[in-house]
Subunit: 278 residues, 2 copies
C-alpha cells in the first residue's frame, strides 16, 4: 500500500479526526508479519540518507506531533534512529527560554532547520504555537489565528531552498492513551518520566482535537504535507513512517556528485606513493 | 581484555607511535569471531545512554582523531550510531568560518559540548589546532605551543561540570592507509569524496606523527584520557571503542531519578480518568 497517498491530508480539505481509525493496520496481522518490510525500508532509508549527505544539495525536515504518549520518542528511537547521526539532528522544543520568548514564534525553529545534505527531526515543532498555545490561551486568538499563514510562508521559504518537509501526526485514540498511561504507572523504571503535566491535558481532549484539526486542515500543502498516521499499533506507525520517508527521498532522484578531481591524476599520485613506500 | 587500561595513554608518559602495532587484534581471529562481543557492548551502550539521558546530571564527550582514512566516519556509523540520536550530537570541524576564526581557538568547540544527559561526538576536535595547524605552520610555534595547556584547562573545566571525556586516536600504519586510498580509487561511488587534499598530507607523515605524539603525550590526563586504538582492523577498532565507552559509562553508577510526583496520586488520577472514559 502507498501510505504517502493514503495518509496524506489533501491540501485544502477539512480534517475530521473522529473519522480516522487510529487502530488501522492494513492487511498486516502483527509486528512479526510487518517486520521484514519495516527492515527493508530502514535499509533504504540509510542508503538514501547517505546519498542526501553525499549530494549535499537538498535537506529533509521531519516534524512529529501528537498527543501525550502518541509515540514521538519511540518513532525517533525505532525508525529515525536508523539514520547515521552524522547527518541527522534531533531538536526537542519545550517551554521557550527567555531568549526564545523574546523573539517571534518561528525564530527558535528556524535556527534548528537542516543544512543542505542533512536531516533534521523536530520532536514537537512550530505547530506547538497553534496547539498548546491555542488550547491554553497563551496568546489571544487574533495572534494565534495569524500563525497558520506564517507557518505556511515559513515552510514555503524552506521548500524553495530545497528543504523537503514531512509532517506526521501520530494518531491515537483515548483508549490507547489510557493504556499507555497505565503502562507507565506500572513500570517503576519509568516513574521518573511522569510529571503532573502528563495527565493535565487529557481533560482538554476535545479542545486539542479541534486545534489539531485546524492545524492539519490549514497547513497541509503540496510542498509541506501533513500525514495522519494511525498509531495505536506502534509497529504499524513505524512501518508507515519508514515507508513514507524512504519513498519521498527516492522521488528526489538524488545523485552522487561528480568527482571534483581528475581521477586519473589521483591514480598516478597513488601509484607514486605506493612506489615510494616500498 | 580490559581495553580501557590497555590502550590508555598513561598521564605524563611519552608516546612513541612506532612502538604500537596498528594491526593488533588481541585473541580475536576475525570480525565474525568478535561480532557477538561487539553487539553485546552496543546493547550496553544503548542502555547506558538512556540512563544518562534519564538521569540528566552527567554528559559524555567523545573526540575522534586520526590520519586520513583512519576510520573516523566509520566509527561514528558503526559504533556510535547505535545510540539514540535524540541524546546524541555529532559535530565535524572543518576549516574555521570567518566568525569562528575571529575568536580564540576553543570557542567553536566549546559551543558544541554536550548538555547534561547528552553525548557529543567530535569528528576531529580542538586537537586539530595542534595537529594540522602545527604541521602547516598556520600559526607561529609560540602560539600553538601554549595550546596544550589551554586544552588541558578547557577539558578540566568540562570535567568539573560532570562532562566525561574520552579521546580516541585511531592508529593505522602507512600500508593500511595506502590500501584504503586504493579502495576509494577503485570504487566509483566513492570518487565524489576524493579531493586533492586527501593525498597532500601523506608526504608529511612524519611531521604528523610528531604532532600526534606531542598531543597524546601532553594531553592525556586522569580526567580526559587519550586511548590509542589499533585500527588497521576496522572490526577490532569497533570492538575496542564500544567496550571502552560502555565500561566507562558503567563506572559512573548512574541512577534513574526519583519520581518528581507522588505516584499514588497519579494512580488515583489515572483511575478517575479511566472511570470517566467508560
Amino acid at each position: 500500500m502507498d501510505y504517502s497517498k493514503q495518509f496524506r491530508v489533501t491540501p485544502g480539505s477539512k480534517v475530521d479526526l473522529s473519522q480516522i481509525d487510529a487502530g488501522f493496520k492494513d492487511q498486516h496481522e502483527s509486528h512479526a508479519h510487518a517486520l521484514p518490510e519495516i527492515e527493508a525500508y530502514e535499509q533504504k532509508l540509510q542508503e538514501l540518507q547517505y546519498l542526501m549527505y553525499a549530494e549535499g544539495k537538498r535537506s529533509l525536515l521531519i516534524c512529529l506531533q501528537g498527543r501525550d504518549a502518541a509515540g514521538k520518542d519511540g518513532t525517533i528511537k525505532h525508525v529515525l534512529g536508523a539514520m547515521n547521526p552524522q547527518g541527522c539532528t534531533v531538536s526537542g522544543f519545550k517551554v521557550p527560554t527567555k531568549t526564545e520568548a523574546a523573539h517571534d514564534f518561528l525564530w527558535r525553529y528556524h535556527r534548528a532547520t537542516p543544512e543542505k545534505g542533512q536531516v533534521a527531526i523536530f520532536n514537537r515543532s512550530h505547530y506547538e504555537d497553534v496547539l498548546v498555545v491555542r488550547v491554553h490561551n497563551l496568546v489571544p486568538e487574533d495572534v494565534w489565528s495569524k500563525r497558520y499563514d506564517h507557518i505556511n510562508h515559513f515552510e514555503q521559504l524552506l521548500h524553495d531552498t530545497d528543504t523537503h518537509i514531512l509532517k506526521f501526526y501520530l494518531h491515537i485514540d483515548g483508549e490507547e492513551q489510557l493504556k499507555r498511561f497505565k503502562q507507565r504507572i506500572d513500570d517503576p523504571t519509568r516513574h521518573w518520566k511522569i510529571s503532573d503535566g502528563d495527565y493535565a491535558e487529557r481533560p482538554l481532549w476535545n479542545e486539542y482535537t479541534q486545534a489539531f484539526e485546524a492545524a492539519l486542515s490549514n497547513c497541509s500543502t503540496e510542498h509541506a504535507p501533513w500525514f495522519i498516521i494511525p498509531s495505536n499499533h506502534k509497529w504499524f506507525r513505524n512501518l508507515a513512517i519508514s515507508q513514507i520517508v524512504a519513498e519521498t527521498l527516492k522521488t528526489l532522484n538524488m545523485q552522487f556528485p561528480e568527482p571534483t578531481v581528475d581521477i586519473n591524476e589521483i591514480k598516478q599520485k597513488y601509484h607514486q606513493m605506493a612506489e615510494e613506500s616500498k
